[in-house]
């Protein structure tokens, strides 16, 4: 990656943070816990990186770390989305 490639990624990062701020400020306090657990699950997106590391072929340090990372990230993803769904199911109006 060269410096321009890096700058491109910084652009995306900064703009996404602004989008995040706009979206999150509209989430009502009553949903703050599901917001946390749900966004937590989204941060498990690192699983994509883990898949690339783990699938590289022969067993090296890199692939072993990748496999462990898949386990970690999937706990985060599946646990996060499921528990959020469990919570949101309970929110009912009268």
């Amino acid at each position: 990656m060269d410096i321009y490639g890096l700058l491109m990624l910084v652009y995306v990062f900064v703009l996404a943070i602004f989008v995040g701020f706009e979206l999150i400020t509209k989430v009502p306090p009553t949903l703050h816990t599901p917001l946390m657990s749900g966004s937590n699950a989204i941060s498990g997106i690192t699983v994509v990186g883990a898949l690339l590391s783990a699938g590289a072929g022969e067993l090296t340090i890199s692939t072993i770390l990748g496999i462990v990372a898949i386990v970690f990230a999937m706990i985060n993803v599946v646990g996060g989305f499921l528990v959020t769904d469990r919570m949101l199911k309970m929110f009912k109006k009268k």
Partner: protein, 464 residues
């Protein structure tokens, strides 16, 4: 194929954005979460088709193990244990970032045909630093909330200089590695010191400050994912991580405002130093006496009123009293009493903790009012019932400039005609200060464990 995966990653990013957008209303929130989950599924599937993925057996093994553990966690956890759960999940997210960051470093390290370039090395160092702090910090936060690690403010000698020194050391090592990327020992050192920093930074934070710590760690886990995106040159990771990072930061700011404290003050473990070592010894020496009321008298009192506001706090969560509180709401409503709930932003151990517990007990969410929406209504309220909350209803925050909680926004429950406080004792709350509310003429103490006390009250009301 690469074009397809780029497009699918874009679609997944859009799913995350719309998923969070739908969290702006409880009506669409569940759909939003499912949309985000769909985005994740798409991202995973398209990655499996990536040409860099050559073998699948280990991948499938990892996915199955991780999914099973995650599912068991998600289905077994009690709603009162949600703060720990979020803390733990945060930790796994951070841990995954460290592993991926190091795996990528190692891949470049052992492959003669690829070289380190500065942007990649910088990104690797940052993902290792943030991921490691998130990992151990979250585990400590989990331990504190679960009661494995002390929930008190922990002070150790040279706390601030030590942390500052370690942070400077990590940054110096980071700069060194960017210049000399093949020094793998330095990389391992960076991971080690960052893991230690996570422990040292969260250890001093006291139990009731956990809403801030958990929110901040949530933000870190997002930033760690973003940094992994920089390492892998993957914009979807950057976008998803940035959304989570922004979410955590906003919640952190809301929590700090709810306590009228700066982030620095919370992170450095400042506030509770006054009294968190234990209940103040002179707490018996009050300027008045607190009046107590028993369940029978309280039932009779409630029989003649028309409006009740219930203020739940961490004590309700500890006592698992949310269902008993719902029963109380039901019997009162049967008597045509208007019942509402007032939720302080920092009640409980994480943002929205009380709302989830009451939702679990099937209390309709439109009965739950935020502080700014209910505070003006207290003068027109007949009875306020405070269950396991303390500092967030202490009127000293409004007028006593010498109080450590002075300036903190509180629920003005003392303006109601009568305030009932359910607590196990007259002991101090988290801030370690006496609550003058207990000695107000319109205040009555209803002692007892929250669940037992509420159940008893419900049967007394039914018996009237």
């Amino acid at each position: 194929m690469e074009i397809v995966s780029y497009l699918v990653y874009l679609i997944a990013s859009i799913c995350f954005i719309f998923g969070i957008k739908k969290l702006s209303s409880p009506k669409t929130a569940r759909q939003g979460n499912q949309l985000a989950a769909l985005g994740m599924l798409l991202a995973i599937i398209v990655t499996l088709f990536d040409q860099r993925v050559l073998t699948f057996e280990y991948i499938i093994l990892g996915i199955v193990i991780g999914s099973l553990i995650g599912a068991v966690f998600a289905l077994k956890v009690q709603m009162t244990g949600m703060p720990q759960m979020v803390g733990l999940l945060n930790g796994f997210g951070g841990g995954a970032s460290v592993l991926v960051g190091f795996a990528e470093y190692d891949r470049i390290f052992v492959t003669p045909t690829i070289m380190f370039d500065e942007p990649t090395t910088i990104s690797i160092v940052l993902s290792l630093l943030i991921g490691s702090i998130t990992f151990t910090g979250s585990l400590i936060a989990f331990g504190k909330l679960q009661g494995i690690v002390t929930g008190k403010v922990v002070k150790y000698p040279l706390q601030h200089p030590l942390n500052a020194l370690l942070l400077v050391a990590v940054f110096a090592a980071g700069v060194f590695v960017v210049i000399q990327p093949y020094e793998i020992e330095i990389i391992i050192g960076i991971i080690g010191v960052s893991l230690l920093l996570g422990v040292l930074l969260v250890l001093p934070i006291g139990g009731a400050d956990m809403p801030v710590a958990i929110s901040l760690l949530n933000s870190y886990s997002g930033l760690a994912a973003s940094m992994t995106g920089f390492v892998l040159n993957n914009k979807m990771l950057i976008i998803a991580g940035a959304l989570v990072g922004a979410s955590g930061i906003i919640l952190t700011i809301i929590m700090c405002k709810g306590m009228n404290r700066s982030l620095m003050n919370v992170v450095l473990g400042g506030w509770a130093s006054a009294g968190a070592e234990g209940p103040a010894a002179d707490s018996k020496a009050h300027k008045g006496t607190a009046k107590a009321i028993d369940s029978e008298e309280l039932a009779m009192l409630l029989d003649s009123v028309s409006s009740v506001v219930i203020v739940p706090g961490y004590g309700m969560a500890v006592g698992q009293a949310q269902h008993a509180v719902r029963d109380l709401m039901n019997v009162l409503e049967k008597k045509n009493i208007k019942v509402r709930f007032a939720i302080h932003p920092v009640a409980g151990r994480m943002p929205g903790h009380m709302n989830v517990l009451l939702a679990e007990a099937q209390v309709p969410y439109d009965k739950l009012l935020a502080m700014e929406d209910i505070n003006d209504d207290f003068p027109n309220t007949d009875v306020v019932i405070v269950i396991g909350a303390n500092d967030v209803v202490n009127p000293a925050a409004r007028h006593d400039q010498s109080s450590p909680i002075y300036g903190m926004p509180i629920l003005n429950v003392d303006y109601a005609k009568t305030v009932i406080i359910n607590k196990r004792s007259l002991n101090v709350g988290y801030a370690g200060i006496d609550n003058e509310l207990f000695f107000y003429p319109n205040a009555l103490m209803y002692f007892g464990d929250s669940k037992e006390a509420m159940s008893k009250l419900v049967s007394e009301i039914k018996a009237l």
